[in-house]
């Protein structure tokens, strides 16, 4: 019954490719990313350097590999922070909202609105303005922005599950709010959360690139795709490959994860699955 859509295959393929490349960079890169080779600077892409070299003669392919690894790591951790804090908060808010006390729900949601009032990048700027630019602060900034996203989506989804009769049945069996949230709500909103996580991941990749582009992300000599683009900008007229490759990698990475997310949603979305051609859920005889 399940068949994989083209977007899932393309997206999944791209994502796996980049993950492999990133993992490989732990053990091997074509050249040392910190090795300066002034003689070999501005080499155009060729057999020796597949993506060329920069103004210090560093190998772009190696830098892109490590930069991708950093971007993926930052995004994974940031989305992880957002999900591990946001999802329980959202579930809690929904549970309190469904069980009489709306105060906690109201407070949590206003807190969410507050974070949303700070555009993500602005929040990151504020944090780095105070604590100084570093990769850790970039992770925190992106992570904080992910909390309300996950809180909101899990709250909304949980609110739609709470009135279901199987929740009432569980309560009739004497189960408490947190047990129900864990046993009945979470598994049923997991699909949605996975899809959202892929979306957030690609947003985080772009956010990390933006932050490091303006110098607020990982610091040199640690390579980052965003900073590579920033450095490329002044040399773009005679060495455009410096801008093509890191940017292209970001696009392909984000595109891959988005397509994969779409594919997962098509596979999992009960709304799409249940909709039979007659437009009605058939209620056949027993």
């Amino acid at each position: 019954m399940k068949h994989f859509s083209i977007s899932f295959i393309v997206g999944g393929g791209l994502s796996v490719l980049f993950l492999m490349g990133a993992l490989l960079s732990f053990f091997w890169t074509p050249y040392d990313v910190e090795l300066l080779n002034i003689k070999g600077k501005f080499a155009s892409p060729g057999l020796e350097h597949l993506m060329g070299t920069d103004h210090f003669g560093r190998d772009i392919l190696s830098m892109v590999m490590v930069g991708t690894r950093n971007a993926i790591a930052v995004s994974l951790i940031a989305v992880g922070i957002g999900a591990t804090i946001g999802v329980p908060l959202g579930l809690w808010a929904a549970a309190t909202c469904m069980n009489g006390s709306r105060l906690i729900d109201e407070l949590l949601m206003r807190g969410n609105d507050l974070i949303f009032a700070f555009p993500s990048l602005l929040l990151a700027i504020l944090i780095t303005a105070v604590f100084g630019p570093s990769i850790i602060n970039a992770i925190i900034a992106i992570g904080i922005f992910n909390i309300p996203v996950f809180a909101r989506i899990s709250r909304g989804a949980a609110l739609s599950i709470w009135p279901k009769e199987y929740i009432s049945a569980a309560r009739v069996a004497g189960k408490g709010v947190s047990r129900i949230s864990y046993e009945h709500i979470l598994p049923n909103i997991l699909n949605l959360l996975i899809v959202q996580a892929t979306i957030q991941f690609s947003i985080a990749i772009i956010a990390e690139a933006s932050l490091s582009y303006v110098g607020l992300g990982s610091q040199p000599p640690n390579p980052s795709l965003g900073r590579m683009l920033n450095e490329a900008q002044t040399m773009i007229f005679f060495a455009p490959w410096l801008a093509y490759f890191p940017g292209g990698v970001i696009v392909a990475l984000v595109l891959g994860f988005n397509l994969m997310g779409d594919g997962i949603r098509d596979l999992l979305d009960p709304k799409l699955r249940q909709k039979s051609i007659t437009g009605k859920v058939s209620n056949d005889a027993s």
């Binding site: 700070f118 700027i125 397509l259």
Partner: protein, 316 residues
Amino acid sequence: MISFLLKKITSLIITLLVSTGVIFILIEVVPGDPVAFMMGLSGSTDAADALRLELGLNVGPWDRYFDWVSGMVNGNFGISYTYRVPVVELIRERALVSVPLTIYALLLSTVIAIPAGLISATRRGSLVDTSFMGFAQLGVAIPNFWFAILLVLFFSTTLKLFSASGFPGWDAGFFICLKALTLPAISLALPQAAILSRVMRSSVLDVMNEDYIRTARAKGLSKKQALFRHGLRNAMIPVLTILGLQFSFLLAGGIIIESVFSLPGLGRLVFQSIIQRDLIVVKSIVTLLVFSVVTITFIVDLLYAAVDPRLREGNS
């Protein structure tokens, strides 16, 4: 209606107060001694004392917070530590670049996305739909600053149609300025347009499955008529939400795009101030940006109510 307005206005004011509190705590309380932070290692003791007085650090944080907020209400944001001019003047000058840029980008994004989404939805599965949505996928994935670099490479370097950077100032004439803002606005707008067109498409598709569209069709309206007379306004509700959010994205995106194109806007000012550790300016601009995001959310809420009679009466 009145109770709805009151509720929204109270929540607006509370959000604003709390967010100024957060900004205040982050900038003035968390770093410990703001003066040492702002002056770095270079400052002399005399200068430090002078700054301390200027920042009003001789009084407690509560008083400082109160002074700051009441000052802002009266239009007094303090004096920039680096530029030695009132922050209000700095901001006014820079906002004349940033605000038009944001509006330009928002308009571009809407003008591209709404028709694209609509066409895709009405011709679902066609070649037009597939290619529009393919572009949208790509658009979502492109970081705006990289897109900006590519635009510069193509239009300024290769075609020499636009200058690569800078802003002539509004005295140079409206169209010259508009031209200078065009590449930045496009690079800001395109990724946002990609998102918006996808939302528009799925919103229209959802609405087309609604029962009231069927009622309208049963009256004898054609598919298109039913969509335009009954579907569109309903479909705009989720689109409105995204438009509100986009304003905030565009503001933030503007910060980066202004650096790409060396535009003298608020974003660049923020970066320069961070580098120069001019917390007075940083604080003011962040507050202002948060202010505008919250206000836009408020306006979007009002627009919802204008569109949807159920919200007007507050019994959602």
